[in-house]
Amino acid sequence: MATRQSARARLAEAADAAVAAEMGGGKSQGRIVWEQFRRHRIALFGLVILTAMYLMAAFAGFLAPYGINEYRRTPVSAFMPPTKVHWVDPETGRLTRPFVYEYTSDRDPVTRQRVFVENTEGPRYEIQFLVRRPSQPYKIFGTFQSDLRLFGVAEPARIFLWGTNSLGKDLFSRVLYGGQISLTIGVLAVWVSLTLGMIMGVIAGFYGGRVDDLIMRLVEVLDAIPGLFLLIVLATLLRDPRNPLAQAFGLQMTSGQTFLMIVIVLGFVGWGGLARTIRSLVLSLREMDYAQAAKALGASEIRVMFRHLLPGTASYVMVVLTLAIPGFILAETGLSFLGLGPSEVDSASWGLLLRDATARGISIQFVPWLLIPGIPIFLAVLCWNLVGDGLRDAFDPRKRR
């Protein structure tokens, strides 16, 4: 959403690349592209980081020491700074197994700000690896249940690598769980957008005339309302319990339904640009000999559109898709940031986690760790951009190396 201008220019470049890519050599198109992509160091770097991030999100339950919604009321653990991990034994001065101390809370005599102090007099709690926590089971890919955690410390000590939020929930764990939502919503919404955009674009380009006019007008209409406002209004109204849709789901939407709703809303708001570009590609493709031949052989219109014309746009669409994902990720985190995404209670999203940092009565200089969830957003968007650029160059024969 934020960078439509450059996105358009990049799309134009990608279109040239796609047309040029049709004239390949002896190797298959996929092979050429992959060979080209592999030489693109920065894009490869992006791909590696992205893979790591998606794996971490998938195995969030295992990597996170705490459950998504786990917190204790006593002793107070709200806004705890990151727990300090000690590597050096204070008595011998030698490296040792990493351990933490328990923390006690106190009020600063001057500012009345709550401060947490390490209880260095108390026992040390060594960090244990591969601990079982039967009280907090989790599921991987929604099916495999387990309670094995990569690391943890024995009660009553706790380990908060990135501090805690206003309720004392572990930020490190929540960032990992948040990735499950923030990394997937964008990708799914792109598919919704793409499906809508492809159908509309192919129909508009194939039939032309009135149908084309009507569809392009619809795109213009969607474009005429600022996207963010449309998102805000749709996301709020669809969530309203009195809404007929919400009632069909049962009064309160579950987190899964909210998730689906956000995907659909994002996809609905974003399909216009895709439809426009696919239309223009189809306009030129339908005049190609093979399309005319298919028609002459008596193929039905639907068959010509979806069997002959649409595949011609594939390489281009792949690039567009990759470059569109970061925009959708930003849109989702933005919506969650406004509190219109998944709810606090049973899920986490990076935007929602960042929202904590702007809550009323919070001075960010006292709780800077609340900004950490912004870093994975930044990384994910950056890497998708890098991969998209790499893919575009790989498809472009003028940039072959």
């Binding site: 007008r217 963010l228 109204l237 912004g374």
Partner: protein, 333 residues
């Protein structure tokens, strides 16, 4: 030129009607209205509700309501705000104005920074400076602006901590919240103006960041392409100075797509400004829109949608005109 403007203007009408209809239909997604909640209050009689409902035209079918509402808009009446009981125009005027300040400031900043950066990068292609610019622009494209705003706020506070300890100065370099300082009303007009500009620097910069990054990258590409073209070689062989070649011959055609893109830039700036407004407590459209929508003040919500889409379309029109002025190849006929 005038017939062109008029024709383009008429072209906008169906789009505008479509956009308002869409907005109106969306606003009808929620059954019940402001009065449904009011009807639950024990001291409000059913007759009062019915009277108000008739007064606001809420008892009519949707299409009738739309036509009526549209008719009023054409006459410049956006309806009444249920929640504050005054004309919508009064409620939305200030926020829209405030958002526009921010967007205009961001646009100016965008052009002022992106053009020199893009030209620099293109002229010094593959040097360290060029690589630094493109690294920074990747950064600018990827950072969510609400996060960037939060990071800047934190840095400003940390800087204050630093100056307080070392120099005993505990002021903020830039204000980080709101649009005016307290006591703004009693300032002289000149002071009032500078006060707002001062408040605008951080949010304006944040709003412009992604645009600057994208703009710089594309301008660099365009410039490189033009600098290698035949007419530049001719200009060089004629003995023209490097400065004249860069700025008069290469930059002018390279910049044309951006003029065409102003219209496309506006929605992203307005949208981008929205989240920054929330973080930095800027009294613009988005905070008020969120407020209105939670209160189901439907005509205020619609008012924001209508006016912002109108502004968008006017922006597009202006960029078309600018394009025609900047590009001698375009004729209006």
């Amino acid at each position: 030129m005038l017939p062109f403007v008029i024709r383009r203007f008429f072209h906008l009408i169906p789009t505008f009607l479509g956009a308002t209809l869409l907005a109106f239909l969306i606003s009808q997604l929620v059954p019940g209205d402001f009065l449904t909640t009011k009807a639950l209050e024990p001291n409000v009689r059913q007759e009062t509700i019915d009277r108000l409902r008739a007064q606001f035209g809420l008892d009519q079918p949707i299409m009738v309501q739309y036509v009526r509402w549209m008719g009023n808009i054409v006459r410049g009446d956006l309806g009444m705000s249920f929640a504050s009981n005054q004309p919508v125009v009064n409620v939305i005027r200030r926020p829209i104005q405030n958002s526009l300040y921010l967007v205009v400031f961001a646009t100016v900043l965008l052009w002022a920074m992106a053009i020199p950066l893009g030209v620099f990068s293109a002229v010094r292609q593959y040097t360290l400076g060029d690589q630094a610019v493109s690294a920074v622009s990747y950064f600018g494209l990827a950072i969510p602006n609400f996060f960037f705003a939060q990071v800047l706020i934190l840095s400003i506070f940390l800087f204050r901590g630093f100056t307080r300890e070392n120099f005993g100065w505990s002021g903020l370099v830039f204000p980080v919240a709101g649009m005016t300082s307290t006591g703004w009303e009693s300032f002289t007009p000149w002071q009032q103006f500078w006060n707002i500009v001062h408040h605008m620097i951080v949010p304006g910069f944040v709003v412009a960041t992604a645009g600057i990054a994208g703009f710089t990258r594309v301008l660099r590409g365009q410039m490189i392409e033009y600098l290698q073209s035949d007419f530049i070689r001719t200009a060089r062989s004629k003995g023209l100075g490097a400065r004249a070649i860069t700025y008069k011959h290469a930059l002018r055609p390279a910049i044309i797509p951006f003029i065409a893109g102003i219209g496309a830039l506006l929605p992203s700036l307005i949208g981008g400004a929205g989240l920054v407004e929330i973080v930095m407590a800027w009294p613009g459209i988005t905070p008020r829109l969120l407020d209105a929508i939670t209160r189901q003040d439907i005509y205020v919500v619609l008012g924001f949608l209508v006016i912002s889409s109108l502004l968008l379309m006017i922006g597009n029109l202006i960029s078309d005109l600018l394009l025609a002025v900047a590009d001698p190849r375009i004729r209006f006929s």
